[in-house]
């Protein structure tokens, strides 16, 4: 009876050996899956260079680096939220709101405010606070994160529009054009700053207990809770950090446009979620990371760039992203493991 638990065809393995074998199989499978986004990225880059006219040029490379900055910041923030198995649908709203209020706080044509850098800091603080509120509502009031952030997105977009009363303010603060037009080696300052924020995200992920807790929550929240970690607080921090990044992205948007309105946020939610799921994050939580997100962002920006170069209707571009998300999520779902999807 000693070997009754082992399966036929596996030979005379003990239960321990069988378990080890299973773990090894799983690990091999995971390693393979981790390489998929990288392979997709490489093949996309090669295909685009071969078939899309104007893709493989220095100007376009700089364009791509330029286009990467905002999705990269947003991805840096939302990665943690996705890893805990939640989602933040309010990033567009927060981004638009912050873009709107920052232009009203620095020197502008609409009011007499002139707070300069302090105004920018206040904006980021306000954005972070919104994320904090979202997190508290989600955790303490036990509302699913997609629902609370969906409602919050609507609320905050409303406040954003209201702040400028339908007529966006134009910025006269000299720092804005200085940042948006400055570049080193042809690469704009904004891309470097985005990379900086991304590196901060990497640092957090690699060296803090917060990030360990994030992964643990995504894998098995119950176990982590019973070990005494303050799970609620970790989640709130994840949402606050996400909104902080979204407000920085809003700031970038305002700097680039030199004016602030809520539509600066539009379309970014989709790009970001597409990037994450293509990069290999699982919406069920526990999987993903900064590097995966970076790969995902680059893939999505390349796709976007090619669609623009090919002259595809912008309406269709959104739909294409939607289809990509569905496909990527469908492929990454671990079949049969978690039975009930809602």
């Amino acid at each position: 009876m000693a070997n009754s638990a082992s399966l036929p065809g596996r030979g005379d393995l003990t239960i321990a050996e069988e378990f080890a074998q299973k773990i090894a199989d799983e690990r091999r499978h995971n390693q393979l899956m981790q390489m998929v986004p990288g392979i997709i990225l490489a093949s996309f880059a090669v295909l685009a260079s071969l078939f899309v006219g104007g893709f493989f040029t220095v100007t376009n490379a700089i364009n791509i680096l330029n286009q990467i900055s905002i999705p990269l910041i947003l991805a840096t923030g939302i990665t943690n939220v996705i890893i805990i198995g939640g989602i933040d649908l309010s990033i567009e709203g927060v981004m638009g709101f912050c873009a709107s209020i920052v232009t009203l706080l620095v020197l502008n044509k609409k009011n007499s405010m002139d707070l300069g850098v302090l105004g920018m800091a206040l904006t980021v603080a306000a954005g972070t606070f919104i994320g904090f509120v979202t997190g508290v509502l989600h955790v303490k009031m036990r509302i699913p994160s997609f629902m609370v952030s969906f409602g919050m997105g609507s609320v905050i977009t409303g406040f954003g529009i209201m702040s400028y009363g339908g007529k966006p303010a134009t910025v006269e603060y000299a720092l804005f054009p200085a940042i948006s037009q400055g570049s080193i080696l042809g690469i704009p300052y904004l891309s470097f700053m985005a990379l900086g924020i991304f590196l901060v995200g990497c640092f957090i992920q690699k060296y803090t207990a917060f990030a360990r807790a994030i992964y643990a929550i995504g894998d098995n929240e119950g176990v982590l809770r019973s070990t005494g970690v303050n799970v609620d607080w970790v989640k709130i921090k994840a949402f606050a950090w996400c909104a902080c990044c979204a407000s920085l992205a809003g700031l970038f948007g305002a700097i680039r446009l030199n004016r602030g309105e809520v539509i600066i946020g539009q379309g970014n939610l989709f790009t970001t979620i597409t990037a994450l799921v293509v990069g290999g994050a699982s919406l069920a939580g526990g999987k993903g990371g900064m590097l995966e997100s970076l790969v995902g962002v680059v893939i999505v920006v390349i796709i976007q760039n090619c669609m623009i170069l090919l002259g595809i209707n912008p309406y269709i571009q959104e739909a294409v992203k939607g289809v990509i998300i569905i496909l990527a999520v469908a492929l990454s779902v671990t079949r049969g493991k978690k039975d009930f999807v809602k």
């Binding site: 699913p144 609507s154 209201m162 339908g166 079949r335 809602k342």
Partner: protein, 321 residues
Amino acid sequence: MPALARVFRDHLSSLMPLLCLALVLGVFTSMNANFLGVYNITSILTDTAPLLLVAGSLTFVLLLGCIDLSTGSIISCSCVIAGLYISETGSPVMLVLMALMGVLAGLLNGLVYTLLRVPTFVATLCTSAVWQCAALLISDGKPKGIPIKQWSVINWSKFTLFDLFPITFLVALGFLAILFFIQNRTRVGKSIYAVGANEKASRMMGVATTWTKLAAFTLAGVGSALAGVFYAIKLRSSLPQVGTPLTLMAIAAVVLGGTTLTGGIGGVLRTLVGVLLVIAIQNGLNLVGVDAFWQQICFGTLVIVAIILNADKSGRDIIIK
């Protein structure tokens, strides 16, 4: 006594929306006496009709514990198609045609969810992008009025019974009655409650869970598509973005009515109260002269508050993501 307390609490939860409605009506009437005037009531009921179609059928999706974020885009798309169709020919075949489109849209949502096992909020967010894209492509991104010579085709929509009940509202009530019948008298309706309350148990009991889910999403699609037709008729034009705010409003209506996001509790009659509540608030805010920007803020807050009130606070061990 605890049994009595529980009975009281249960009734309170279903009475709550009605009490809120009474409160809202009271507040707005005291601020502006015209609020309960015959003309304004007709106006409220006219506005209620399309939302009733969406929210009524969306109730089933929420009863499953799922969500449908694509309703707004389906409304936009069907509004565009219906508007252009009336402009061209304008035969009543259109309603059937649009219902078919709704079936298609709902089935697509359901299939992505059940076959591909994509969580519903992502699945419907993505299909919403697809339908919005279709609406914008078909309309070329611009609103287009129905030419006056075609107005005779849709003049029936102006009829009001007893000078109080607009015909569109009556049609929507009829649709709601069908939904009520489905909910209480058919196998699908019972299955939806069972799957929403406990999917595993209902599957073990032999409930066809996949078909149940598909049916719920299909109904939501049909409701949304018909609402789009109503908008086309009411506004006499095809507007490619008419549905955008309606996704949230429909969810607000269902949840305010007392259907929970976790599934299994609620019903279409409660949604009727929720819809009246939402429209009364919107209408009242307009009447009192509150800025349109505030309404977006208001509905976002309303959804969150309604969910907080409805949330099951007892099951602390359930993990909410």
